[in-house]
């Protein structure tokens, strides 16, 4: 059939490209768009069908566009359609539909993707109005669907948040580390006491984030002048020095700003309220094609001005088109299988294409030693190691330059603040600015001596760390531990109670300003990424409580100050984590964590210190306990030993259903029809005599996929070593200085790389279904079950009903179902722990999903568990909503899993709705009692969304009433009304348990 049809689509394609080319050439005004600051932007972009039925290209060269009726060998990029029919569908597809086609593997891009994006940018110039009206139409359709979903929903949720805030509990002073707070819950304080914070918060919510080109522009300026691959004299750049010198140029020349009225100086972008960073070497390049549609797209739409578009389009993007992590990886390793899998979305995502993927640098070093102190350590190290190799010398030199970059920026900030102070007419504000100026003249070069100095130093260094590598998760770590010494010594100097009360209030305000600084920036993402990660902020994590390195109770005054700020501001960023050590931390503390979670609806998430520490000691028996006790949750939930560990925790995000589908199809992924895995047997031919035989096939497919993933991640690690060595982070992580190696080169004391497996509950339940239906009860032949999956259970409703109602699921309390989950987690952890990364460490095994459970669900066919094709998986390792009506069954089953199979932590999401009969206090008590029991049984982590279904339905249709409706996706928090609809519906489908 295909060959007979082929001439027609091929002709159509060529005709389309020809007419588009003609439209360009008829518009001389557009010629300028093809000329960049570094010359003409030339690219050849092909279009082909994978079935060979068509192939053509456009050549964009020296300002003219030419259609070619063939595919030139030297094309830069190529858009591939699975078949000619997909080409037809794509032509009439809305952005929404096109995204679905990409996710379903109907379309993908080969080669240097940025050049395809360039072509897309040009095409958008011609069809912008059309794109806008299609986007509006889609939004309108969604609005109508949302109104249907919300029909009849109770609207009392619109006032719920305000109501929950009115009945705050008082706390008792019982924690040994609490010295100053009479009522640690600070129940008397409300938002009305903090007009500054209230104003900042209001402005944040009403401001649409604005795209900045500052970061990309300054780096491009530097590299155009100084070369990227080689220096002007032709010698190749040493990676650390290239990074450090370009970073210095960035920091010394970027705008030094303080937001009007702010207590903290320094901003991420030139837009102090809410700006977007574009880091072109990680994933900023991806939005090239969408620069003109960012302003009106449905998800994550931003403001962008003409000058920024021009700078990014003409200056930054052309330079980084081939100098970004993804393209460098593909070129250097000849488009490895790993990159092909990555770019087709169905099975593995490599976070190294986005960032280092998470670490907590040692902010304590900046606070205690100052950058000057660290400079001293470097000088001592060089003096004491005459045999230092060149890499060590270069690495340490790069650290110094990077720290100088921070100092230079701070100096500019001080000058700016001084200028503003002079011009300030309000004496109170002038006083504030004078104090900020004093602080900026001291930190971060010198050690901090007050809380204010410590927080200002931390904020500047945090900005610098984010701009040095990728604005994605250099985390703040154990903020209460870091700041308590300053809080304590500040208070000790005060004499009257009145002074002390005023100071405590000021501390809340200061931390509030820090929060609002943290939430003042997003990363710019392309639309398909917003599909995957809508509403996902950079999400810096802050950790509270737990135990100190000596095992003692770490809860202190600052723990409660920070909890108060979390309650007041109700933001999705920073991402809050509370550690609770049963038997050490107090009930008072746990209850306060629960109260904040109840008031905010979704944060903090709560970790069992004992279980996480067990997991880490169990897997790493050579790591000292006092170091393990310094663990912080980074990224979503993953453990990182603060200031001494490079855990790259999100390196590999793997769809666990993919190897299962491949095992069912003899190595072929059914959606992509791609024979990539080993041939492990044919279900139709009865190759699996026993269930264990099939389990073996699944295991082999998993080993294959994870093996490729590890290889890909290790390749990417090498790319990071060459292009993103990050000397500033390295200066703050033990033992990079003494080893003379950056974090990407194994300089950290502890080196691991993280895997997270997505879809665990769906996979375990599917295996249970195969075992029971096919092998134990012989209800159906394996062949017939597979047919049912192929037809998405259409015509197999009885089988589906039987499976759904007769096969006990993980989370139901059935021992067999838990055993199956253990088998899966054990199989994964065994393999993962045996893999070595590129830094001399091993891989870790995690069970959280960001929002990949929705994405990977969309690209997965029907599951043996009865899940239909395209339906979202459960988040993290959360059991199915239908597993049990009883929350306790869920909690007990999750608690039974072996912590050593979960050393990269878990995300266990539970949506609970308190009984209407319970008072505020009863609700909090019930929560904390339930969590305590779950932890005593071994549960590692839990996060509650405390919002009922009606509220969520109402919010889908009436987002205006719910600007800050916070929900946990898997490990991160988002505002519900800004999420992709798939995710909104997934959260609504989660069980609503009584509590």
């Amino acid at each position: 059939m295909q060959p007979a049809l082929s001439p027609k689509p091929a002709e159509q394609l060529y005709a389309l490209l020809s007419s588009t080319a003609e439209m360009f050439n008829e518009r001389p005004d557009l010629q300028d768009e093809m000329k960049g600051t570094q010359g003409w932007i030339n690219a050849t972009v092909g279009f082909r069908a994978a079935d060979g039925s068509m192939g053509a290209a456009v050549a964009i060269k020296q300002g003219s566009v030419t259609a070619l009726d063939h595919l030139p060998e030297d094309r830069d990029a190529c858009l591939v359609f699975r078949t000619a029919a997909d080409f037809n569908a794509f032509q009439s597809a809305s952005k929404d539909e096109a995204s679905k086609m990409i996710l379903k593997g109907r379309i993908w891009i080969e080669g240097t993707i940025a050049y395809y994006n360039y072509a897309e940018y040009l095409v958008n110039l011609l069809f912008l109005d059309q794109a806008k009206s299609v986007a509006e139409q889609t939004m309108h359709e969604h609005k109508l669907e949302n109104l249907r979903i919300a029909d009849g929903a109770d609207t009392s949720g619109r006032d719920e948040k305000a109501r929950r805030k009115t009945e705050r509990l008082r706390g008792e002073r019982v924690d040994p580390g609490v010295k100053w707070l009479e009522d640690p819950y600070l129940s008397e304080m409300g938002m009305e006491d903090f007009p500054r914070l209230e104003r900042f918060r209001r402005e944040l919510f009403k401001t649409k984030a604005q795209v900045s080109s500052e970061h990309g522009k300054l780096l491009t300026d530097f590299f155009v002048a100084n070369g990227y691959e080689t220096m002007p004299d032709g010698t190749p750049w040493e990676p650390n020095l290239r990074k450090a010198k370009s970073f210095y140029h960035l920091m010394a020349n970027r705008q030094a700003l303080i937001r009007q009225g702010d207590l903290l100086a320094g901003t991420y972008t030139p837009y102090p309220v809410f700006g977007l960073v574009n880091q072109p070497y990680t994933f900023g390049w991806q939005v090239w094609g969408e620069l003109r549609t960012l302003g009106f797209r449905e998800l994550d739409s931003y403001r962008i001005d003409e000058e920024t578009i021009e700078t990014l389009h003409k200056h930054v993007m052309p330079f980084f088109a081939t100098r970004n992590i993804q393209d460098l990886w593909k070129k250097q390793f000849d488009t490895p299988l790993a990159s092909q899998i990555h770019e087709r979305y169905f099975a593995v995502f490599y976070y190294k294409t986005v960032s280092h993927s998470q670490t907590t640098p040692g902010h304590v070093k900046v606070m205690k030693l100052g950058l000057d102190g660290i400079r001293g350590l470097i000088a001592d190290e060089l003096a004491n190691d005459p045999a230092a190799d060149q890499e060590k010398k270069d690495t340490l030199e790069a650290m110094k330059i990077s720290m100088d970059a921070v100092s230079s920026y701070t100096k500019n900030l001080a000058a700016q603040v001084s200028k503003e102070a002079e011009a300030e007419s309000d004496p109170a504000r002038r006083g504030e600015l004078a104090e900020i100026h004093r602080i900026l003249c001291k930190v971060p070069d010198q050690p901090a001596e007050t809380l204010y100095e410590a927080v200002q130093a931390m904020w500047i260094v945090h900005v610098a760390l984010g701009l040095e590598s990728s604005d994605d998760g250099p985390h703040l770590g154990r903020l209460d531990q870091l700041l308590q010494p300053y809080f304590d010594s500040d208070l000790a100097k005060l004499e009257t109670d009145q002074e002390r009360q005023a100071y405590i209030k000021r501390a809340v305000e200061l931390i509030g300003c820090l929060y609002l600084r943290l939430s003042s920036h997003y990363n710019i993402t392309m639309e398909i990424t917003s599909w995957m990660n809508s509403g996902g902020p950079p999400s810096t994590t802050i950790n509270l409580g737990g135990v100190a390195p000596d095992g003692g109770d770490a809860v202190n005054d600052m723990t409660y100050v920070i909890l108060k700020v979390t309650e007041l501001l109700n933001l999705n960023d920073p991402n809050m984590h509370a550690r609770f050590m049963p038997g050490v931390n107090s009930e008072t503390y746990l209850k306060r964590v629960c109260e904040v979670n109840y008031i905010t609806g979704a944060t903090p998430c709560i970790h069992n210190d004992a279980a996480v520490i067990d997991a880490l000691t169990g897997v790493n028996n050579d790591w000292p306990l006092e170091d393990i006790r310094e663990w912080t949750a980074v990224g979503c939930v993953e453990p990182c030993l603060s200031g001494m560990h490079f855990p790259a925790t999100g390196s590999i995000e793997l769809n666990l259903m993919a190897p299962l589908e491949m095992a069912l199809n003899n190595g072929v992924h059914p959606l992509l029809e791609w024979a990539l895995g080993p041939q492990t047997g044919k279900v139709e031919e009865g190759d699996f005599e026993t269930f264990d035989d099939f389990m073996e096939a699944f295991t082999r497919q998993y080993h294959f996929l994870c093996g490729v993933s590890v290889e890909g991640n290790n390749q990417l690690g090498q790319i990071h070593q060459q292009h993103m060595p990050s000397p500033l982070i390295s200066a703050l992580v033990d033992d990079c200085i003494s080893k003379g190696r950056g974090i990407t080169r194994g300089g950290a004391r502890y080196n691991t790389s993280g895997v997270t497996s997505i879809g665990m509950a769906d996979v375990a339940d599917s295996l249970s279904a195969i075992k029971k239906a096919v092998y134990d009860d012989k209800k159906v032949s394996f062949k017939e079950l597979k047919e049912a999956l192929t037809y998405n259970f259409e015509g197999y409703k009885n089988l589906r009903a039987w499976i759904q109602n007769h096969v006990p699921k993980f989370g139901s309390g059935d021992p067999g179902a838990v055993d199956m989950a253990q088998r899966v987690t054990g199989m994964v952890a065994d393999y993962v722990h045996g893999q070595q990364n590129y830094r001399g460490g091993h891989y870790t095994s995690g069970w959280w999903s960001m929002n990949y459970h929705a994405i990977y669900g969309r690209v997965s066919g029907a599951s043996p568990s009865g899940r239909l094709a395209g339906e979202a998986f459960t988040p993290g390792l959360t059991p199915q909503a239908s597993a049990s009506k009883n929350l306790l069954d869920n909690l007990l089953d999750v608690a039974k899993l072996d912590p050593t199979t979960m050393d990269n932590n878990i995300a266990f999401n539970v949506r609970v709705v308190p009984s209407a009969k319970d008072s505020h206090e009863q609700t909090i008590t019930r929560m904390s009692d339930t969590i305590r029991a779950y932890f005593e049984q071994g549960g590692m982590q839990v996060q509650f969304i405390m919002i009922n279904t009606d509220t969520l339905r109402d919010a889908m249709a009436h987002p205006e009433y719910y600007p800050d409706l916070l929900v946990r996706i898997s490990g991160y928090c988002g505002y519900f009304t800004k999420l992709h609809r798939d995710l909104q519906l997934e959260i609504i489908r989660r069980n609503e348990y009584g509590l």
């Binding site: 009903a801 929350l887 306790l888 779950y934 348990y993």
Partner: protein
């Protein structure tokens, strides 16, 4: 006579693992099948009869067609989705085995004491932290004194707090000997004080119920002993009239009751009736088919509290 003890063990309707409404803390509730009363508003219509029943949940039915030929009595017919002729049904439950979706279910499982305990014990950590435990309910657990007694003892042996929910129609001496020593809490229904009306709406005389309550109330509250709480369901126009409330308050005052519970009518049970094939005796517009009026509830609560009786919403 139904109020006499049954020596055999009851059928278990359900063990609800995490109940929030049947006593303090997190609780597991054992529902036993069979009740000597016959209240028109009964929230658990499937708990009235002692024997097993056939339960049909239309929403779950996938119209597999498997059940119709499986029925030896020809009691089932296709009817969007299914018609059950309950007169023909011999309760053989062959249809349940044929149903893939569990839309058809047998209500009432025979379970020995150990099996019931095994289902509850895993939740003990949550009972311990929340101050919860096990609640025996029904139906009427005192209808099966021997089983209930053994179950209570087995639960106590596991260190689990126990609560018995009863309608109060039992032989006092047997209760005192077999149930009380193993019970931490009793929730006893005081549905209607007037004997005539009680007989009319609940099908039996209430003299013994009132006597039992009065005696237990007198004995309660000792150190290490049990506590008792009377509860009254507020069924619009039946149990919640002004006269009823006045007589209830009078009864409480006469016996020195300072704490009592009122339960707002919850119309969800109407759905349940259909599933066991019972037509509820309420007109479509009867207020009993709606959620309870909160204003009315507030007024009643105030009425009791004005007389020194604290009201808990149970």
């Amino acid at each position: 006579m139904a109020s006499e003890m049954r020596s055999g063990r009851p059928l278990i309707i359900d063990i609800k693992g995490n109940s929030l409404d049947d006593g303090p803390g997190t609780r597991s509730v054992v529902f036993m099948k069979g009740c000597p009363l016959n209240c028109v508003w009964c929230q658990n219509p499937e708990s009235k009869k002692i024997g097993p029943e056939l339960w049909f949940e239309a929403d779950k039915c996938v119209v597999s067609g498997g059940c119709i030929p499986a029925c030896p009595e020809g009691a089932l017919a296709a009817d969007e989705p299914l018609a059950i002729d309950r007169n023909k049904c011999s309760l053989c439950f062959d249809c349940v085995d044929a149903c893939p979706s569990t839309a058809l279910k047998r209500v009432g499982q025979d379970m020995p004491v150990e099996q019931v305990v095994a289902k509850i014990v895993p939740y003990k950590p949550f009972f311990d932290t929340t101050g919860g435990g096990a609640t025996l309910s029904g139906g009427e657990p005192t209808l099966f004194m021997e089983f209930t007694s053994q179950l209570l003892q087995a639960l106590k042996a596991e260190g689990i707090h126990t609560l018995v929910e009863t309608a109060g129609l039992f032989n006092f001496d047997a209760f005192a000997e077999m149930i009380l020593p193993h019970t931490d809490m009793i929730y006893m229904d005081m549905k209607i004080i007037d004997p005539e009306l009680h007989k009319r709406w609940c099908g039996v005389d209430n003299r013994r119920i009132k006597e039992n309550f009065a005696r237990l109330h007198k004995m309660a509250g000792g150190v290490g002993g049990f506590s008792i709480k009377p509860r009254t369901p507020l069924i619009p126009g039946i149990t919640d009239t002004d006269e009823m409330m006045a007589s209830l308050a009078e009864f409480y005052l006469a016996h020195g009751v300072k704490l009592a519970a009122l339960e707002k009518n919850n119309p969800i049970w109407f759905d349940k009736s259909e599933k066991v094939g019972v037509e509820p005796d309420f007109a479509a517009d009867d207020p009993a088919r709606s959620f309870y009026d909160n204003q009315r509830y507030g007024g009643i609560k105030q009425f009791f509290e004005d007389q020194g009786i604290t009201i808990l919403e149970s």
